[in-house]
């Protein structure tokens, strides 16, 4: 079904009620930046001021690890960015709002307002805790904050009230089935339901680790296993899926996962777009969008 993907994602973000939205991926080159750019454009077209940042580095012209071309972020006047001082384009000049004490690989993190349209590279704080503070501070400059959440760096979601878009793509695994398993596991973690009041529950302090899960399964634990928020579930892939099948895992502060995006074209491989989209849609109970094909999975 042909759709305006950016506008659809922006609408879902709006309906979530969250001021900030994180785009997180199951791997590198799975279309996170493309999804982010689509949402950003829809935000601009809706006349809303948006602030952008990332965990670590994104938006650069070439991939820092394999030197291949990357999608770039063309930002329009009024947009606010949190990026490294060395990554801020020297021209056209931006309005520098603050030189912060946060350090990145490319110098101090600065907050700047775009005054003339230009390509920007986002180099945000590498630490999840710092990113949370940055998101909070950016909210003083713009009503909406959009974050490129980097590869499976969900720790940055801890303690936030953000909406989340999950990106997956052909670059993440050799077969569509493996990608589907990965995204299903990540979405299951992020969508961990809130503990219902009055439930018989066992609270876990800190992270729910694979060892703890194995122990609970062996003990045939029937109570709800409760973590503070989904970022405390430190199991991935099939292990996570099995944990959710065998245990009743709940959290105190759920996240708001609003959609999944797919990129059927990878660096080294490509999947048939529509069948891949269908498989992902069947695996998650969320709207699934192909950002390259401008389609929503049926």
């Amino acid at each position: 079904m042909q759709v305006r993907v950016g506008a659809s994602l922006f609408d879902l973000w709006n309906r979530s009620g969250a001021r900030s939205l994180f785009v997180v991926g199951i791997g590198k080159n799975v279309g996170k930046t493309v999804a982010m750019r689509a949402i950003y454009r829809a935000c601009v077209e809706a006349g809303e001021i948006c602030a952008l940042t990332s965990i670590g580095r994104d938006g650069e012209a070439f991939d820092a690890t394999d030197a291949l071309a990357k999608p770039r972020l063309w930002l329009t006047p009024g947009t606010v960015v949190a990026t490294a001082r060395e990554a801020l384009p020297r021209s056209p000049a931006s309005e520098v709002l603050e030189v912060t004490s946060y350090r990145t690989a490319a110098g101090a993190l600065v907050y700047a307002r775009v005054r003339s349209g230009a390509h920007y590279e986002l180099v945000g704080p590498p630490a999840a805790s710092a990113l949370r503070t940055v998101v909070h501070e950016l909210a003083a400059h713009a009503p909406r904050v959009l974050v490129d959440g980097a590869v499976d760096r969900i720790a940055a979601l801890a303690g936030g009230e953000d909406a989340v878009v999950v990106s997956c793509g052909a670059s993440a695994a050799p077969t569509p089935g493996e990608v589907v398993d990965e995204v299903r596991a990540l979405v299951a973690r992020l969508q961990t339901p809130r503990l219902e009041e009055g439930s018989d529950a066992l609270s876990i302090e800190g992270a729910l680790t694979p060892a703890a899960v194995a122990q609970l399964v062996r003990a045939r634990e029937r109570r709800a296993i409760v973590v503070r928020d989904p970022t405390q579930i430190a199991i991935t892939g099939k292990a996570a899926l099995q944990a959710f099948e065998r245990l009743t895992i709940r959290c105190l502060r759920p996240l708001r996962v609003v959609a999944v995006t797919i990129a059927s074209i990878g660096r080294d491989r490509a999947f048939a777009p529509r069948s891949f989209a269908r498989e992902v849609a069947q695996a998650v109970t969320l709207p699934v969008f192909d950002v390259y094909a401008a389609e929503r999975a049926a």
């Binding site: 056209p92 931006s94 048939a272 094909a293």
Partner: protein, 535 residues
């Protein structure tokens, strides 16, 4: 703030130098540099030390706590403009973040002068150079805090940006026409340079303006193919962007050259800001801890109402008061008294007050007369805090430290001996201590020894101070709870230090203390019986 030759690591630890350094820490990177350079005054520089202490005391009197906190908050928030100013002085055209840092520094200078205007002992930091350079940057002030290369800096900027906006609009329009035509032909949205077209959706060939990047069985990966019109618009946009970059860089160069022209004066503003930060931190210390300017004289270390501030604060946190100390040390002296009676605190207070004076700081006392010592050396308990020793016994470690101390023939030394030689036989330990004190006296050092050894003061011909000690504890039952025992000890202990003649003075009250700290009555009774038989 470096202890340098004044204190070695163990002595610095014993007299609370680390605490003092933290209490005097400046609020900003400007002060950090100045603070790192602080060294103690040397003997002979008493006049300079006193002048510094008097200056700090006047600042503390001129500014109230609220004003001092406001200055420190201002300095803490000011960005460190020193690297940017250094780069500008070396010919670099600063980036806009650097210009913002410099502008904020200038703002801080002006605000700082406003906050400290009532105090003539602090340097003025916003001189002519700061005001001239601030005026040059003022047009870049954007919003409450930001900086932007506004068109007002140069008429050419406005023209170049208008041309770029026009070229951008033309390029967007040209690309938009190509995109719209392709989107219309394909019946879908095209938002990105690369997009997928499903073969099953294609009715005929791809429309013009769309180029194939990669083909697959079920889809075609495409991108927009820029025609000559789009490419020409792109070229015009790139040319316009280059012109904007050129003019912006010229403005940055001009602003940076203004900073470069005033580099020496701006460097002085940085230095003065750092000096202010250090002096304000010292004034805060003086106000918080009720310090006074000591008289500086080479003849004696004496004080009334002296306090060892780190311990005073620790006690205050537990709701207890530090008993101020009166002491006169003009050569060698001995302190005796019960365990936990404050002998070590007396030694530490001496060292702390002497260290403050050596750095030209007012001292925590009601009145004080202090030499500028070349060295403050701590011997005995706590002198091997750095963990050295290896195969050496604690006595051997003390002796090694003593050997090193005696080998350094420095003038004007303060030596603090806390139960030195306590781990050997009392008779030999006492003999050794008497000899050491005589040697130190002969060397012209001031030395204070805390000890439980009876008759030491008389044997060494030293002034004798004694802690008044416990009263009415021995008959009380043992406390089960340690905290309760310590509270009762504090209530039962008179920590007052008084000079005594001859060997008058109290014993160590060790058995009474053991009882108070919970040793059972049978052991205590046996101890008292043993004491009677020994005496």
């Amino acid at each position: 703030m470096k202890p340098a030759r004044l204190l070695d690591a163990a002595s610095a630890h014993a007299v609370g130098f680390g605490w003092l350094r933290a209490a005097l820490a400046p609020a900003s990177p400007y002060g950090d540099d100045a603070f790192a350079q602080l060294e103690p005054f040397a003997p002979g520089a008493e006049h300079d030390a006193r002048r510094r202490a008097e200056r700090i005391a006047r600042i503390a009197a001129a500014l109230d706590d609220e004003r001092i906190d406001a200055v420190r908050a201002l300095l803490a928030q000011a960005p460190d403009a020193a690297p940017a100013l250094a780069r500008a002085s070396m010919g670099e055209a600063l980036d806009d973040a650097g210009l913002l840092e410099v502008q904020r520094f200038f703002d801080a200078c002006v605000a700082l002068d406003g906050l400290t205007s009532a105090c003539t002992d602090l340097p003025r930091v916003a001189g002519d150079a700061v005001r001239t350079c601030a005026a040059a940057l003022e047009r870049g002030r954007a919003g409450k805090f930001g900086f932007y290369l506004e068109d007002a800096f140069d008429a050419a900027l406005g023209r170049a940006r208008a041309a770029l906006a026009q070229a951008q609009a033309e390029y967007d329009a040209a690309l938009g026409r190509t995109r719209a035509a392709a989107a219309h032909a394909l019946g879908r949205e095209i938002s990105f340079p690369e997009f997928i077209v499903m073969r099953e959706d294609l009715r005929g060939p791809l429309p013009s303006g769309v180029r194939v990047v990669r083909e697959a069985a079920t889809y075609v990966l495409c991108e927009l193919d820029a025609d000559d019109g789009v490419l020409a618009a792109l070229k015009r946009r790139e040319d316009a962007a280059s012109e904007v970059a050129r003019v912006e860089e010229a403005v940055r160069e001009r602003l940076s050259s203004t900073l470069r022209a005033h580099a020496a004066a701006l460097d002085e503003a940085l230095r003065a800001t750092g000096e202010t930060d250090v002096l304000i931190a010292a004034a805060r210390f003086v106000r918080q801890h009720r310090c006074v300017v000591a008289e500086y004289g080479a003849d004696e270390l004496s004080f009334e109402g002296g306090r060892f501030v780190p311990l005073e604060l620790e006690l205050a946190a537990q709701g207890r008061a530090f008993t101020p100390i009166d002491l006169r040390l003009d050569g060698i002296a001995v302190v005796t008294g019960p365990n936990m009676g404050g002998k070590s605190a007396c030694l530490r207070a001496c060292g702390f007050i002497a260290a403050c004076a050596a750095f030209g700081l007012p001292v925590p006392a009601v009145r004080a007369r202090v030499p500028v010592f070349s060295e403050i050396a701590w011997m005995g308990i706590g002198s091997d805090e750095d963990g050295g020793g290896g195969l050496l016994s604690s006595f051997a470690r003390e002796i090694v430290r003593l050997r090193e101390l005696l080998a350094r023939s420095l003038p004007a030394r303060l030596v603090l001996l806390d139960e030195f030689a306590r781990t050997t036989t009392p008779s030999e330990g006492k003999a050794l201590l008497v000899a050491v004190l005589e040697r130190l006296r002969a060397d012209g050092a001031d030395a204070l020894a805390a000890t439980h050894l009876a008759g030491l003061a008389q044997a060494a011909g030293a002034r004798h101070y004694a802690v008044r000690g416990l009263h009415g504890v021995a008959q009380r039952p043992a406390e089960e709870d340690l905290n309760a025992a310590l509270e009762r000890l504090a209530a039962s202990m008179d920590y007052t230090l008084e000079e005594v003649t001859g060997e008058r003075g109290r014993g160590s009250d060790a058995i009474a203390l053991a009882s108070l700290l919970g040793i059972d009555a049978a052991v205590i009774d046996a101890a008292y019986r043993a004491l009677d038989s020994l005496e």
